[in-house]
Symmetry: C2
Subunit: 397 residues, 2 copies
Amino acid sequence: VTNSSSRPTPFPTRTNGRSFWPEGLVSAGVACGIKRSGKLDLGVLVSGRPVVWAGTFTRNAAAAACVGYDRARLGSAVRAVIVNSGNANACTGPPGDRAVNATAAATSEALGCPADEVLVCSTGPIGVPLDASLIANAIPAALDGLSQDVDDFARAIMTTDTFPKVATARVDDATVCGVAKGAAMLAPNMATMLSFVATDADVTHEVLQGCLDGAVDKTFNRLCLDACESTNDTAIALATGTGKAVKAQDLGTAIESVARDLAVKIARDAEGGTKLIRIAVSGAADEVSAADLGKAVAASDLWRSAVHGGDPNWGRVLSALGAKDRELDLNEVRIAIGDEVVFDKGAPSGLLAAAAAALHSDHVIVTCEVGAGPGRAEVLSADLSEEYVSLNAQGSS
Amino acid sequence: VTNSSSRPTPFPTRTNGRSFWPEGLVSAGVACGIKRSGKLDLGVLVSGRPVVWAGTFTRNAAAAACVGYDRARLGSAVRAVIVNSGNANACTGPPGDRAVNATAAATSEALGCPADEVLVCSTGPIGVPLDASLIANAIPAALDGLSQDVDDFARAIMTTDTFPKVATARVDDATVCGVAKGAAMLAPNMATMLSFVATDADVTHEVLQGCLDGAVDKTFNRLCLDACESTNDTAIALATGTGKAVKAQDLGTAIESVARDLAVKIARDAEGGTKLIRIAVSGAADEVSAADLGKAVAASDLWRSAVHGGDPNWGRVLSALGAKDRELDLNEVRIAIGDEVVFDKGAPSGLLAAAAAALHSDHVIVTCEVGAGPGRAEVLSADLSEEYVSLNAQGSS
């Protein structure tokens, strides 16, 4: 792996199928009582000393209190991130702000660091008052359980996720380990989930922020399930500086690799979803236009339902493209489901049976060439199932 | 009803629960064999002489051949509209164009008028070749069945609709009768369905077009179910001129009344839907902003699922508003479900049990005050059910 500076490989500290944070970072996950099920609902990620961090956040005007709290600390160094699941602490008014402050204070007190060195994240239902004393009471147990293994932390941040999401990558000397949660309320505007990635690279905040921004833009921001944008989206990158100085480009590639791996896992674990859908758009005016077209297809309830049922209804792809780009020239458009070209040069083409067969996979690839320029992008989505509706028709946590 | 020029009343020719076109217009609906079920799938609407018409159309770049065909005839006079259901004839290439021309030619030949005086509309699955000979063969039977009763025509344009949609209104001397179809692929950008409204008023094309544009903007364009924009959306207004000259404002009010009634019926008949949702936004910067906020809530799969299950999850309303308006000030926002205020001045409020009770109705009203200005608008939607997914997961017609 030393002869390539662009091909990411898995992080070398992964052993026995488990993944580990870079040297200097430890985490834990405990059950503090927010989730009535008794499942893990509190994660802490701790560094032995203040470290550089970067973050990207939801732009939702109804953002949770913790989002503004963390954003205000961008550029400073931090010792810990504390994350609860089971309650988003969003739209909860002044008591919500007090819960964030109390959580940061309790964490910093236990660690013996300034409260300013603690970041706070929440995920779960919106609008439910958060009892911060549950978190404060559980902090000692969490700190007792700290280890370099990411698994409990990755589990503690889950909501309706069915499996923990972990990814690692190495590019030359840059190594990155990350976790994420996310299953619904996923729209392509900022991370639309929680993600925490860490590297031992010795970099500045500015370099780390640039690497994170670039990675999020091409991965988490090209992930669209129900097009509902969350109030708590946060992606945080930590750099411990315990490792070598690395090339910014290598670090960016490694973070993007981890983020893409996590994005695929999120799409695979979409609420009610049974199939990963990759929408590969090419021939758009530019990359942004290509991503926008892909997101329009990704957000189509009709197309997502058709994929769920194995119906190769490419008209729903084409109508989504045509609704997004009013100047689309159908004579230049080619659409393929799997390898089967179903629409070409303005008219139906190929065999629907072959396209239907491609939809029987749990990994569906839709290719859209629009013939307007060099722009290309890939957007991730998942099918829409009856179970998505059932899950979201009842109060969830 | 002569003492008010602004309060629409039902059209006086409605008797025994049936509605009738204005004098001079007749219609029929027959089964021509496009729908395998044998249900009505061909409607014709005929005038004894060329009449003024107006139209609004989908802006989808993947618009069906008939959309461009009709749009090109705006400003001329027409004798007939022929509409098939069971096949959208969209994205069907040059054979699709030929099918439109053949349909217009067969209709005009049977009526003894120029082909230019026939409008053609289609609705149904996209991308399926349309056999225009089925239509041509059925035209004689259709013309044999012409009558002033709208019912068969209203049934013949249905796809997954479960009931025909008819509305009438009278404002002073302006009388309007209209029909519509629509059940899914409904997004607020143009009519997002087919609708045909007629008046006996003696008006110019320009006046009629202005009345139709204004009505569509405030009704059909404020109807959002799955946010998927159709390739065939068309609203057509016909004015026979057999009645009196009327005030343009009265005619506009009557057309808007009919269109609003039809829009409510479409939302009530949403695919898989069990509840009509009215989203009333006030306090936006202007009316357009208010409508945009309402559409954002209307398009939320999460909120629509919650309504389906009777879960008063107002956080999904607030997150949809906050994703649409990045400058939203939560401290100025008030949200009510039914009569229960669930969020007020930046914090949760009221009783969730009372809000949940309001969701047990089949007519849910969500009120969103955003405190930024005088703009208000109402948007119509429906709940998202497992049945919507089931219906759209299998090939449908």
